[in-house]
């Protein structure tokens, strides 16, 4: 084979190699990461966006993502669900020691891609907030067990290609100021979470509270619940109101459903939205502790008055006799 023939053969082989894999990659959806830069310094905090693209004529409605990152170079500070198109089934999980992140959620109705003219990148699934702890090349990659399911009524797995991101972490530089992309986003977030509608649901004969708020900036950080009854009202008078950290669905302490319930959604920047739920069942009077307390106090007062009056009568009689 002459040199020119060899060159042509190599060029052709490369072309067909590229075309072959391009062909198969057009048959798949794409789960990918992006960052604003691909180089940071130690002690900097940066945001990695998780996004999805779908292929033509395909709709995806469920995604499960597993990511691996080098825990000797990067530390995960947080996972923000703000502006995510996913409804999360559970809180994203972070294993800092093993360098693993996982998230799972659905898109009711399915996601078929951005529509023409959409002014922004609306294919966002979540944001990971990383902090760089040592220099090196950090590869943040999806694990092969990540999956996306088609919106076909059967949960058929979609062909999926995962694309991670490689970040270079450089040693500290005295010239450039330390960046904190997340702090900048939190400082801009002045808007509380959106209104939401909690519901009381029954599971296995017990009453739970189901709720899901959305925050279009930094994302929901956590929820707190206050079940208001006689005892909590007393606590409130004493200045001791106890909100409880909770997740949906939340097992109600007051299973008689006579308590009033308040749910507080707090975003990552500390903005709050409180929603109140009226009791769904009006309980009979004999189940109201407050009424019993009044009755008992009244009875003791009456008894005390009778005893005092009796003593007064006895004292008067003794005086009259003497």
């Amino acid at each position: 084979m002459t040199k020119i023939q060899k060159l042509i053969f190599i060029l052709l082989f490369s072309t067909f190699y590229f075309l072959f894999f391009s062909f198969f990659s057009t048959l798949a959806a794409e789960l990918y990461l992006d960052t604003s830069e691909n180089q940071y310094y130690i002690d900097e905090t940066f945001i990695t966006n998780i996004r999805i693209n779908v292929k033509d004529n395909e709709s995806i409605n469920a995604i499960e993502g597993y990511l691996k990152f080098p825990s000797d170079i990067l530390e995960v500070k947080d996972f923000s669900t703000g502006n995510s198109i996913l409804t999360f089934i559970e809180e994203p999980k972070i294993n800092k020691e093993e360098g693993l992140i996982s998230f799972v959620g659905i898109i009711p109705g399915g996601y078929s891609g951005r529509i023409p003219g959409d002014p922004g990148q609306s294919n966002l699934l979540g944001k990971i907030i990383f902090y760089s702890i040592s220099p090196g090349i950090a590869e943040i990659m999806f694990e092969d067990i990540s999956q996306a399911l088609l919106s076909d009524g059967e949960g058929t797995p979609a062909e999926l290609i995962n694309k991670g991101v490689t970040i270079e972490i450089q040693p500290l530089d005295d010239i450039n100021p330390i960046q904190n992309e997340w702090q900048e986003e939190l400082a801009k977030d002045k808007i509380p979470p959106e209104d939401f509608n909690p519901e009381i649901i029954e599971i296995d004969g017990k009453y739970y509270l189901a709720f899901s708020a959305k925050d279009k900036d930094s994302g929901i950080d956590h929820y707190e619940i206050l079940e208001k009854n006689f005892f909590t009202n007393i606590s409130k008078l004493l200045g001791r109101v106890k909100w409880i950290d909770s997740e949906s669905p939340y097992l109600l302490k007051g299973q008689s459903l006579s308590d009033k319930i308040e749910i507080k959604a707090i975003d990552k920047a500390g903005n709050e939205k409180i929603v109140k739920l009226q009791a769904t069942h009006s309980s009979p009077w004999y189940k109201n502790y407050f009424i019993w307390a009044i009755l008992i106090i009244s009875i003791f007062y009456l008894i005390w008055r009778i005893i005092v009056k009796q003593k007064q009568n006895n004292t008067r009689n003794r005086h009259e006799i003497s």
């Binding site: 391009s22 659905i106 009524g153």
Partner: protein, 301 residues
């Protein structure tokens, strides 16, 4: 130059020729299209700033608004979901056109879904898309074309007899009906002035066994997505279908809706052992992402 061509050279030239053929005629030009294959499109309108009256005065802040315009069915109810929850409903006109405006929402990324209900109470599939809403502007979403409803008159049909496939869409629109088993058959009809369409499909071309059918509509330059699929059997006898709405799989609390309440019940059972058959939507003995995907498909809000 060509005199010296040997067999290897001819082989290389043929490969180059096939390569160009494949690249330009078989493979799409873009590896990914991140835009949906739909007639829906977005236009963002920024209202002109108003000049305050001389001597100062109050300039009202611009409102963040999204306006949805499209086609459903004549006089049908159209429901809009924002992030999977119902936020608005309207009634389409006799021409099936509708418009819904949503004001005062926060800027950000949303998932919007629309569906309609036909004159028989059958619900359409969801038309869902993501959208970035910008503060202080009006975002117009147009070209919305809700998929037809679909149903069949028989749950089982004797092979060789006709099965009626019917539903509702935009009046005088082209309806494409797909009937599938191992092979997919396509047929066309036109909806009437009331948007109702009907097609009698000859089942002699189908094998014995389970099949499904779905439809989509086209009018002017707009194309809808596909409807839900409806199953039927081709066998040795005919059984008329009882009046049953599209399966409400995912309706775990029996309120005829598939929404956050059902999602929360399913979330409770996520990866827990021994789930009940009610929540195990695909009957595989566990509650995992597949069950949530089935629920998401039948979502109503």
């Amino acid at each position: 130059m060509f005199k010296n061509l040997n067999r290897f050279g001819i082989f290389i030239i043929i490969l180059i020729f096939l390569g160009f053929l494949s690249y330009f005629f078989l493979f799409p030009k873009e590896v990914y299209s991140d835009t949906a294959d739909t007639s829906v499109e977005v236009q963002v309108y920024t209202p002109a700033p108003t000049t305050p009256p001389s001597g100062g005065g109050y300039t009202p802040p611009s409102t963040t608004q999204v306006v949805f315009t499209g086609k459903a069915y004549p006089k049908s109810s159209v429901t809009l979901l924002k992030d999977a929850q119902i936020v608005a409903t309207t009634i389409a006109g006799t021409d099936a056109n509708f418009q819904i405006s949503l004001s005062g929402i926060s800027p950000g990324i949303y998932i919007f879904s629309l569906y309609s209900e036909d004159s028989k109470g059958n619900r359409s599939s969801l038309l869902t898309f993501s959208l970035s809403v910008t503060s202080g502007v009006t975002t117009n979403v147009s070209g919305i074309f809700i998929a037809p409803t679909i149903d069949v008159d028989k749950s089982e049909v004797k092979r060789g007899e006709n099965i009626s496939i019917f539903g509702q869409s935009v009046p005088q629109s082209d309806i494409v009906i797909s009937v599938s088993s191992d092979e997919e058959f396509f047929t066309k009809t036109i909806s009437g002035k009331d948007g109702i369409y009907l097609y009698n499909f000859d089942t002699s071309v189908l094998d014995y066994g389970s099949h499904y059918t779905k439809s989509k509509a086209a009018k002017e330059n707009l194309i809808s997505g596909f409807s839900y699929s409806v199953n039927f059997q081709v066998g040795t006898k005919t059984v008329l279908k009882e009046t049953v709405k599209i399966s409400e799989e995912g309706d775990l609390n029996g309120d005829k809706r598939v929404n956050l309440i059902d999602f929360s019940i399913l979330a409770y059972w996520y990866q827990r052992p021994s789930p009940s058959t009610t929540v195990d939507l695909n009957n595989d003995g566990k509650v995992n992402l597949v069950d949530f995907s089935i629920m998401a498909y039948y979502w109503t809000g």
